[in-house]
């Protein structure tokens, strides 16, 4: 009973008008959850968590850096699942959501790279090091950019989304290979690279802010994904009746004299 209700609800979400209403109602709550979690996490990170014994306050950037890196990778997996759904069942909402996920993932990857670089300058003495993790994140960024560029290169957005979905899957197959090959490459050529301290070796007092900011990035991704996907749908269907109905309250407001 619950299962069939869930299934029906899921199938209904494939319809653009129903998805649009769902996204419009849910996204603000996700944004609110994002702000709450992130603000609380940043407060804990800046005022409650102790400074690192070696790096002092510079280590605090990890509370942004690590969640961004995690979510950048999770975003790719979510995008790949959506792309697979789009290719197999040809659900338009899934195509749109996969394409909406790419810029968000790219932005998170960029945040990870920039914060890492800012931290690397005082700690490693260089903005950029050809370390395995840095290199594989950079390659991930290029794959995201390739997906966005390919989608944008097609005049027909549906065709662009399906072709780009094929690339998303190809990237998913290749990403683990890239990760391990790059890891091997640096260990072969440079011996031991400077290690970012492992998560398990972290002091317990540093864990809570990390959990809150990590939760924050999950809500951020969900909120941004729903908003982007809804905007893409509205833009592509702008001449259809459901968009006029959906946007009717906003249009009515604009007509009223100030």
């Amino acid at each position: 009973m619950i299962w069939s209700t869930l299934k029906l609800w899921f199938h209904k979400l494939g319809s653009p008008p129903i998805f649009s209403v769902f996204a419009r109602r849910v996204a603000p709550w996700l944004w609110a959850a994002f702000f709450a979690c992130t603000l609380y996490g940043v407060y804990l990170a800046l005022y409650v968590a102790p400074p690192d014994y070696q790096q002092s306050d510079s280590a605090r950037i990890l509370y942004i850096h690590v969640p961004a890196a995690w979510q950048a990778m999770l975003a790719y997996v979510i995008m790949a699942v959506l792309a697979a759904i789009a290719l197999i069942w040809r659900i338009r909402t899934a195509e749109i959501m996969a394409m909406a996920a790419a810029p968000i993932g790219a932005a998170l990857t960029l945040i990870c790279l920039v914060t890492g670089s800012l931290w690397g300058k005082p700690m490693w003495g260089t903005w950029w090091e050809w370390d395995a993790r840095l290199t594989s994140m950079l390659v991930l960024l290029f794959i995201y950019v390739g997906i966005m560029a390919l989608y944008a290169a097609y005049d027909d957005p549906r065709k662009g989304a399906r072709v780009a979905s094929v690339l998303v899957i190809a990237g998913l197959v290749n990403l683990p290979i890239i990760h391990f090959s790059v890891e091997w490459w640096t260990t072969l050529h440079q011996g031991q690279t400077i290690r970012i301290f492992g998560e398990s070796k972290m002091d317990p007092s540093m864990i809570p802010p990390l959990i809150w900011t990590t939760l924050g990035t999950k809500f951020l991704f969900g909120a941004a994904l729903l908003d982007r996907a809804r905007n893409l749908l509205l833009a592509q269907d702008q001449h259809k009746a459901w968009v006029r109905r959906e946007l009717a309250p906003a249009l009515d407001d604009r007509k009223q004299p100030a």
Partner: protein, 224 residues
């Protein structure tokens, strides 16, 4: 027509077309040598420096050369309508895709493999690494063709595919670059490159089995 005769006919046609336009067909090879000439001009002609760089540089040059003709891999067949024939009736299209990639590798990849010793001499690659370089190119250039073919199929009906092709191919061939250049570097230093060459072959086999699935999906989506 059985699959075998069909494949032979397709291959003969592709090769004949390539030989009729020999100048255009050999452009990637000339491009490789243009890069080989530019490297000493850029980094200086010191033999020791060139010996350190040559293995990786030759692989970068081979990658760039393989991108050059990709735009014409499927485009002429799209323009004259023969691409649609690949998928007509009960044909899956895989046969035509494999034959086209084989023909493309024979006219763009194989010349690079054959002429790579000459380029290696010009860049002062240590003699003991020469065999490894040729072997790595022989194993690795098919993977370049396969990944390049995927990128060409993905960008089939876009406007101005050139730069987009490079952006799509480069991240996907990162492992190839690492294993191949690593093998050449190890051989130059007097170590056994067997492990790297084995991984290179594994990557090529993975591309050989999976890339045509993606190529076919991308071509069919583009034809809709």
């Amino acid at each position: 027509m059985s699959g075998w005769t069909e494949a032979r006919a397709l291959l003969a046609r592709d090769l004949q077309l390539a030989f009729r336009r020999l100048g255009q067909t050999l452009l990637p090879l000339f491009f490789l040598f243009a890069v080989v000439v530019l490297i000493p001009l850029g980094v200086g002609p010191g033999p020791d420096l060139l010996a350190r760089l040559s293995g990786g540089m030759l692989w970068v040059a081979a990658l760039l050369a393989s991108l050059l003709a990709l735009e014409h891999l499927f485009r002429p067949d799209l323009d004259d309508g023969s691409l649609e024939q690949w998928f007509v009736g009960r044909r899956e299209g895989y046969l035509a895709v494999y034959v086209r990639l084989l023909a493309y590798w024979l006219v763009t990849g194989l010349p690079i493999v054959l002429f790579s010793p000459l380029a290696a001499m010009m860049l002062n690659l240590p003699t003991q690494a020469l065999g490894t370089l040729v072997l790595s190119l022989l194993i690795g250039t098919p993977a370049l063709t396969l990944v390049g073919g995927l990128a060409a199929a993905l960008t089939l009906t876009t406007r101005g595919a050139g730069a987009l092709l490079a952006i799509l191919v480069f991240p996907l061939v990162v492992p190839l670059m690492i294993f191949a250049a690593g093998a050449v570097g190890l051989a130059a230093d007097g170590f056994s490159p067997a492990a790297h060459l084995g991984l290179l072959a594994a990557f090529t086999i993975l591309c050989l089995t999976l890339a045509p699935i993606g190529i076919r999906a991308a071509l069919k989506t583009n034809l809709e």
